[in-house]
Structure formats: structure tokens, C-alpha cells
């Protein structure tokens, strides 16, 4: 293992810091000033930095200077907002100008899709739009292409900000009326795309030296709410095909080091369509679930793969085989209260007694009103974790408890 150079963690993540602490190599955390005091008190190497400022007085050259006492050789983005900073630093560390361009690729959903299209991956119809009018036109063209007749339902359109994590700012528009109701000036410019039918899932690939060293498939039970790892047998049976498109993606995007987390759609006729891709720690507790299901620390794996100086042997020793079935499945369900007055937490007895129930982080609420205005999925109130041996049962539980009101009036 590279024990000479520090790894730079961009963003404050309690889990990532503790995982890094357990490795035999130096690291430094870069994040907002607010965390400085805590870092100092707890002996966490820290450089304070405002990721939102980018200019003469705040750029990658200055950040590199500030970090130089730590002798770093790689920067790892933990959050979406730090992806281009990591790209910029790694460009400098590796002396390769394309690294930053790749980072921008991850930060702009239109560029990303264009690149995927060029690489021969299947994507939906998409466009960059600057006004509501253009969204209407896009829907009209989709309707035409789908041969929608007057009076029939409009084709569904997804609107997404160019650069936001996961489902943040995502709006599903099912009709022209909804374009007028839901879309606001602030949304523009943005991406619109056709609705991709099929089963959505994600894939996490740990890449070193341009090769996928470990690949997990995550089964989404309900997008943004629940998923489990590894995916159940039906998705796993598509593993060779998924591996193929993943390799295509890695090659097309020129990714050499780190983790990518793309989302795919699998249609009934076995076609895989590309949704989007991120290169940071995925949401939905995916890293936690990977760690539980496979028995390795996913953050450490990310650090290892991100460092060009990591040896082949280190990589080999670190990962288990991703072809063999794991012992058990790890799942998580994020709990969002329904709109209305919320005053108490009610956890069904049978959940706590279920052999698959592992733990939860739900806390008693203060009485308050939950508004019906969240975009994307907003903030969840806590998570329930499951673990067990049967993927069917896992799916059943995640579906069932997603219907339960844990927060009641």
C-alpha cells in the first residue's frame, strides 16, 4: 500500500473519515470551515475550503498549495459538488489535462448522455432546454414519434438539472398541463429526456488502471426509497451483459481510477439503457450495504482504487470475487413522512421481531407539519436496515414497510 502520500478526501463524511482512519495511510479532509474546530479537537487532518467559490482567489492551484504539506497524490470526491475539484486536483497530480474534462463530463447530464450515445450505449431521447416552451416542444416531438393521437395520454418527460446528485430536482412530467404546473423559471437551463421503461438499477464499479476490479449490482425496490445488495437472481443473471456495458462505459468515459455509480434500465426484451452516471459515494446507503454484503469496507476500496500508485497485489488481496454469491443480502429503506401533521413515531412490533430486521435510525419527532412540496426525494427521517438470505423475502419486506406510516399525527 502507498503509505507515503496522503489521500485527499473532498467533503465531510463521518463514515469515510473513520474508514480512512482504519487504513495504514495518511489522509487529509477538505471541507467547509464549519468542520474545522471538530477536526482539530479530534485530530483529523483538515484543510478548510469553500467548494462554492471558484475564481482568482479560490482555485485548484491555491488548494494544491494548501494541501502540499500533506504530500498528497490523489483526491477523492465524496459528494457531487466536489467532483470537479477532485478532477482539477487529480489533473495536477497526474499531470493529465483530460482528468478534469472527465470530471466535467460527470457534472453535466447532457454531456454525459451525448458521450454515452457516441459510445454506442442505448440512451433515451434527450435535449438541453432553456424555457418552458422548449419543454412543450420536446413533449410534442416525443408524442409525434410515439404516434400519440389527439386525446391520448402525453408521452412522459423527465426534467433534470444538469448537475445534481441522484434525484435532487428531478421532475416527472406526464402531460402538457404538468409542464405548466411543475416547471419554474429556476429550473432552466436543464435536461429533458424521454421516459425509459423497464427496471431501474444501479451498478457500482471499482476501477483501477482502467479495469473493473469489483462490480456490484444494486437492486432498486423503489427508486429513492429502498434497495438491496447484491441484486436478486433475475438481475444477477444479466451480469455478463451488464459487465459488458459497464466496460464500454468505462472505456468511453476514459475512467482509469476510482468508483463509478451509473444507473441503468433493463427492459423486458433484455436491452440495457443508460440513465446517468456519478463518480462519488452513492446515496441510499449503498456503500454501507456493500460493506455488509461482501465484507469489505467500500470507502477503503474507493481510496485504494483511486490511487494510481496502488499495486496490483494490493488490489488482488483486497477484493473478494464478485462472481461468487454472497452469504447474505443487505437492504435499506429510507423513511419519509407523508405530508400532514406528524407527532409520533410508530414502529410495528412485527418489524422489530422480523429475522431480517437489523437496526434503524428513526427518532421521535417533535410535532410539526410535513409539507407536500418536496422535489426529488427531500430529506428522509431515518433508515431501516435489513439483512437476510432470501432476496425474495428482502424485496417483500422493503415493499411492505415502504407502505407503512412510521410517522403519524
Amino acid at each position: 500500500m502507498n503509505t507515503d502520500n496522503s489521500v485527499v478526501l473532498l467533503g465531510w463524511s463521518a463514515h469515510a473519515i473513520e474508514s480512512a482512519q482504519k487504513m495504514d495511510r495518511p489522509f487529509v479532509v477538505v471541507s467547509f470551515e464549519d468542520f474545522e474546530q471538530y477536526a482539530k479537537e479530534n485530530n483529523i487532518p483538515f484543510v478548510s475550503w469553500d467548494f462554492n467559490q471558484w475564481g482568482d482567489k479560490s482555485n485548484s492551484l491555491i488548494l494544491r498549495e494548501k494541501l502540499s504539506p500533506f504530500n498528497p497524490n490523489v483526491a477523492i470526491p465524496l459528494y457531487e459538488e466536489t467532483v470537479e475539484w477532485a478532477g482539477a486536483l487529480n489533473t495536477l497530480y497526474r499531470d493529465d489535462p483530460r482528468v478534469i474534462n472527465r470530471a466535467f463530463l460527470f457534472r453535466n447530464k447532457v454531456m454525459m448522455k451525448r458521450k454515452a450515445l457516441l459510445a454506442g450505449l442505448r440512451v433515451g431521447l434527450f435535449e438541453e432546454v432553456h424555457s418552458r416552451e422548449q419543454v412543450h416542444n420536446f413533449m410534442n416531438r416525443l408524442n409525434e414519434a410515439n404516434l400519440v393521437l389527439e386525446g391520448e395520454e402525453d408521452a412522459w418527460v423527465h426534467l433534470k438539472p444538469f448537475s445534481a446528485a441522484g434525484t435532487v430536482g428531478h421532475k416527472l412530467l406526464r402531460s402538457h398541463d404538468q409542464i405548466d404546473e411543475k416547471v419554474v423559471e429556476k429550473d432552466f437551463p436543464c435536461l429533458v429526456e424521454s421516459h425509459l421503461p423497464g427496471q431501474e438499477f444501479s451498478c457500482e464499479a471499482f476501477i483501477h488502471n482502467g479495469k473493473i476490479r469489483f462490480m456490484n449490482i444494486t437492486e432498486y425496490v423503489k427508486l429513492g426509497y429502498s434497495n438491496f445488495i447484491p441484486a436478486g437472481p433475475s438481475l444477477q443473471s444479466k451480469r455478463p451483459e451488464i459487465r459488458k456495458v459497464m466496460e464500454k462505459l468505462v472505456e468511453a468515459f476514459g475512467i482509469e481510477y476510482g468508483v463509478i455509480h451509473p444507473e441503468w434500465f433493463l427492459t423486458e426484451d433484455n436491452t440495457l439503457s443508460f440513465g446517468e452516471v456519478a463518480c462519488r459515494i452513492p446515496g441510499g446507503h449503498i456503500f454501507e450495504l456493500i460493506s455488509k454484503a461482501y465484507g469489505f469496507d467500500a470507502v477503503q476500496a474507493m481510496i485504494l482504487c483511486s490511487d494510481p500508485d496502488t499495486t496490483e497485489e494490493d488490489i488482488k488481496n483486497f477484493f473478494p470475487s464478485d462472481e461468487e454469491p454472497t452469504k447474505s443480502y443487505a437492504g435499506s429503506l429510507m423513511i419519509y413522512p407523508k405530508p400532514g401533521i406528524v407527532s409520533r413515531l410508530v414502529i410495528p412490533e412485527e418489524l422489530k421481531e422480523d429475522p431480517y430486521f437489523e437496526s434503524h435510525t428513526l427518532t421521535e419527532p417533535m410535532e410539526h407539519k410535513v409539507l407536500d412540496d418536496r422535489e426529488g426525494f427531500g430529506n428522509h427521517y431515518g433508515t431501516i436496515f435489513f439483512q437476510g438470505n432470501e432476496p425474495e423475502r428482502m424485496e417483500e419486506l422493503l415493499r411492505h414497510y415502504n407502505e407503512i406510516d412510521f410517522y403519524q399525527g
Binding site: E18, E353, T361, T363, E364
Partner: protein
Amino acid sequence: MSKEIAEHIRHNFIEQLRQLKEAGPLTRPEQSKKLASTADVMMTQHSGMALIYEYIDQIVDAGFFTDTHWEDPAILNSSLVGGTLKAGGMSTMFEVISELRVLAISEGRIKSDGMSEVSAREFLEELTVTNLDLLFPDASEELRNVDEQARKHIKALFDFLQQEFIRWDRFGKLLAGEIQMICNQRPIVTDRARSIIRIIRERMTPEEHGEHSSRIRFFIDALYAPSPKCSKLTVEEYETWLERPGIKKADLKAECEALSDPLRKSGLSSQYHALLVQRVRNDPELLGMALGLNTHGLAELETHHKKISEYISVACHPDTSRFVYGLAMMLERNLLSRQPVAVGLDQLLDIEIHPEVAGLIEKSHPESRCTAQQHVFADAICMLGQPLGVGQGWNPTCQSARGMSLWSRHAPGKLLSMIHTAAITNDLEMRFEGQLLKSSELPEGLMKEFDFNLDAVSIVLVPHLDRIYFEMMRRATGRGEDPHKWVNPAMYGQWIPTGFSTPYNYLTNAITNYEQFLRLFYVTHHPDYNGGHDLAYPNPVGIFLTAANGKLLGFHAVSILRVAWYKEVMRIYFLNPNNEGRQKWHSNIQPTVAGNGEVPGESSLPFHQFASRLYAFHYSPSETDGMDIVSDNEIGEVIDIAKSSWGTSYIWQDFQQPVFQNLL
């Protein structure tokens, strides 16, 4: 009793504990929560509590309490434990585990710089003493608001502490006092007193009773050995003995004399007593003796002996033993000469109870050998005999309990007729402003889950009364004034005076013209200002219910029964239907149930203290003269008390117009 913890739960708990040990300071709080979430289900039963206790040193060492309120045992405060336990959710779970840590410190298993073994023991003693309500859960207002899961945790914790720590000798005095106070109130449902007595009998040796041994002995005997004969025989053997042919009258007489004494002194009837009364029911002399009747009661017995004997033959059974005390009390009220009562009871003797109602009654008496009809009849007698012994159990139905108590005192015939209708039809009708309300056609009221810790009459009536009350409130809401103004007279009866005053403004959620309100209360209720009168009928009033720290808990319904001097203090005597008249309302506002001239079942407070909690009352509009002469000092004092307690939850406003609009 307590089943074993499932293997997967045990395994999961140990796994989460392992992860807590591995967690660093950043993720430790989250992992502590996860560990608590797995301990949750274990904490509801003894074996689970024991398992957590087995690992308590590891839990503490792993940093479970680090950076929490519980971190340093030195600053734990036993008087705060009860409140935190009742908070529910994670707070309850952390608190329970904190108690287990203190227990481990007291046993020397965990060494702590902040707490010695001795101080840990003292801590647990204080905590037990201040939380007898948790050790022996009753139905006080504060506990009823506690989440059910937290209640289970609390129960399991105290069961565990009882087994592991509580040395009963230290608690003899306290427990004797507790039983005494419950009995002083003469509740119809005496389960709580009975369970304390049973626990003492099972857990304590006579030497452990300490200096209060004779008082404790008295209560144990009242239930388990009310006579020398009973002390030698089981209930079954006693029954055989009583039925023996040729048993001497003198022997029966001796039993009657012996058993009536603890009955009258404690209000507790034993199973033996029910058998004895059944045996002597046809002999008025012995029966009068067995019930310990006064002259009123004896006269009633003489006049109505045949009827009474019939009541006994129907309803007196070891499983309805409270009937014995209720019967004695009813006879002394001389109700049987009233036509509506005599007819009402006759009708109840032979009814077919609606299957759903019968189901509820059976649920509340799961081990009873009696029929639902026997329970309803026996408890109807109790309710007539002990109008102030009605309680609401865990249900948020103070209005219904208050109503039954009022009817028992002032409209017993109406009460019996309601019981009759509801028991047969599982339905009840009342009129509100000329319209008929039928409970079966109304939506759910305040009560969501029925607590069955109630007498059978309440079980029959409360579900209906609750719906009707809720519907009346719904119809009277939105008139810009407190709906009770219209609902109380419609619900309880036309004797409720038509004047109604409250300082609480429904539209603005503010307290307005509070001083005026108080002066009106004084002038209509305080004998110094109203011409020296007591109340003719109970006044159903609303109070701001506050916790021991003075903080507002919510609105509560009580009845003012009378106002009288006692030892140079003007006191208000009232019925608190929550069956726990001693519940502390603030650090220095502590209603008493005995020792200040209270009749059993009454609570009392000095006039001004009660006034400081009042939020609504009825009055007669013709009796409002002299508001200005009420002592300014006294009014000022009441305002101060109010503002510093529940008053902090409201905005205070004063307008010039009078609040008692009925005067205009």
C-alpha cells in the same frame, strides 16, 4: 411469563454491539442509535432485559453514552428519570439502559468515578420511591399519555429492578402508605391496591415489613385472611365449610363480624367475603352484620330484604367480590325506595347482553367464571354505591367518567336506564339541541384504543358516551366560544347552570380577561363572597392540567363537588375521574385525598390553588353581584401562579368588555 429472546434478535444485538465497539467518535452516535433500535424489542421482556444487563459493561465501555446526557453518572438526577422514561422512543431506551448501568454500578460490576456502589443503590431507591406510579402502573393522566411501547419498556425495567434490586424491607413504609392512599379514595376498581398487596405478600417476609408491619398485615389479611378461619382455609375450602350442613349460626356470626371490619376500613372485599355474603343472604341479621351496615343501611335492608337477597344470588361471586363493598355503600344511600332505581335494577337482573358488549366485558375479566351480565349487574351496584369511585382507566374519557359519577349521585335512574339500553343494544341515544344523536351512527370519539382496566358499567357505556360527547363538541365548535358551554348541560343534565365562563379564547388561542374570570369564579363559588353558600349540584369544570414541573399537559375535566372551610383554609373538594386524585400539579400544588376533610373519592386543594388551574366553569347568572369586593391580593396571587405555570404556553390579553356575555 417471559419468553426467551429469539436467537436472531440476540445475534443481531451482539453484532450491533460489536459494530459500536469498532465505531469511532464520528459514527458512534448513529451506531448507538442502531444498538438501541435492536435493544428495543428485547426491553419489553425480562429475558431481554437480562441479556442487555449481561452486556451492560461492554455497552458502556463501547461508548454508548458518550456525548449524551447520560455520559457522566455523577450528574444523573433520579427525579428526572420518570419523565425521560415516559418520553418514548430513543429517550426511553437510553434511560432504561442507563438504569441498568446504575444497577451494575450498585452491584460492583461496573466501576465509575462519578458514582459509588452506595450512591448507585441510593439512586435506585430514590428512583423507585419517586416512581411508584411506574412500579405499579395506575391510570394517572401523565402515564396515559405515554406511548404504549414506552410503557412496556418501563414495566419490564421495573419488573427487572424488582427482581434484581428492590429489597422490600426498605419500602415497607412507602408501600403501606401507598395502599392506604388508594383505599382512602375508595375506587370501584381496586386492582392496583390488590396488586401491591399481592406483591408484598409474595415478595416480603413478615420481618421485612419493618415498623409498618401491622398496617401491611392488615391489608394482606383484608384480602387473604380476613378471619382466623379464612387464614386456615383456601377460598374453595371456605366455600365447602360454609355449605356444610349443620354449620352453627354462631360460627357464621363470628365470620360476619370478622369480615365486615377490614371491608369497612379498607373498601377491599375478599373472595371469602363474597362467599360468606352469598351464604347468609337470606338472613337479614347476618347479612347486615356481614356488610357492616350503619342504621341507614340496616333500615334499607329491612325494607328491601327480598330484593337484596335476589341481587346477591345473581351477582355475588368470588370473581365479582367488589360487589360486596358496593352493595353495602349502595344500601346506605337508601336508593332502593326510589322507583326509577328499583325498576332499573330489576331490569338489569335479567338481560341478554349484546354479544359485542359481552365480548368487551369478557376481555376485561379474562379469567372470570362469571357471565358478562353478572359483571354488569355487580358493577352497576358498585357505581350506585361509590359514585366518587368511578375512574377513566387509561382512556382519554374524563368526560364520560365524570358523567357517570354525576348521574350516580343525582340521576341514578337515568344511569341505570342508559346501562340497560347500551348493554342490550350496543347503542345509546341522547338529544342535543333538539336533535337525536345515536352513538351507533357516529364516528369514533376521543378514544382510539380501549383500555379495559375499567368497571363493567364503564365498559358498557364509555364507548357510546365518548362518541356522543365528541359529536356534541363537533356540533358546538365554531361558535366563537368554548363548546362546553352548550355540551355540558346537554350531556350531563339540565341542573348545570346556564352561565359559562372561560378566559381561553378559541379563536386566538390566547388567555383574555383572566382577572375578570377569576373574580366571577370567586363571587359565584367562594362562600365569603356568595353569601356563604355551598354548591347545590356538582359543577363540571375544565382545568389546565399541569405536570409536576408546572408545564401544561392539556385540558382535563373534573367536577367541583363542594367548597368548605377546613382547618382555617377554604378548600375546594372535587372529583378527579382519573382515579388518582393525588397527582402533583406543580411543586407546591398537590391535591390531597385524605387528611384535609375529604370524603373518600374526593380530592381537595386550597381554593386559590384550584382557581389557578381553572379554565372553564358554569355559574348561575343571577348570582354575580360583588365582583369588585373580591380580595385583590388573593386574585393577584392566583394570577401569578397561573402565569408562571400553564400560562407560559399562552399569549395573555386584556380587553375592556366583560367576558361573561350571559349577563348582557
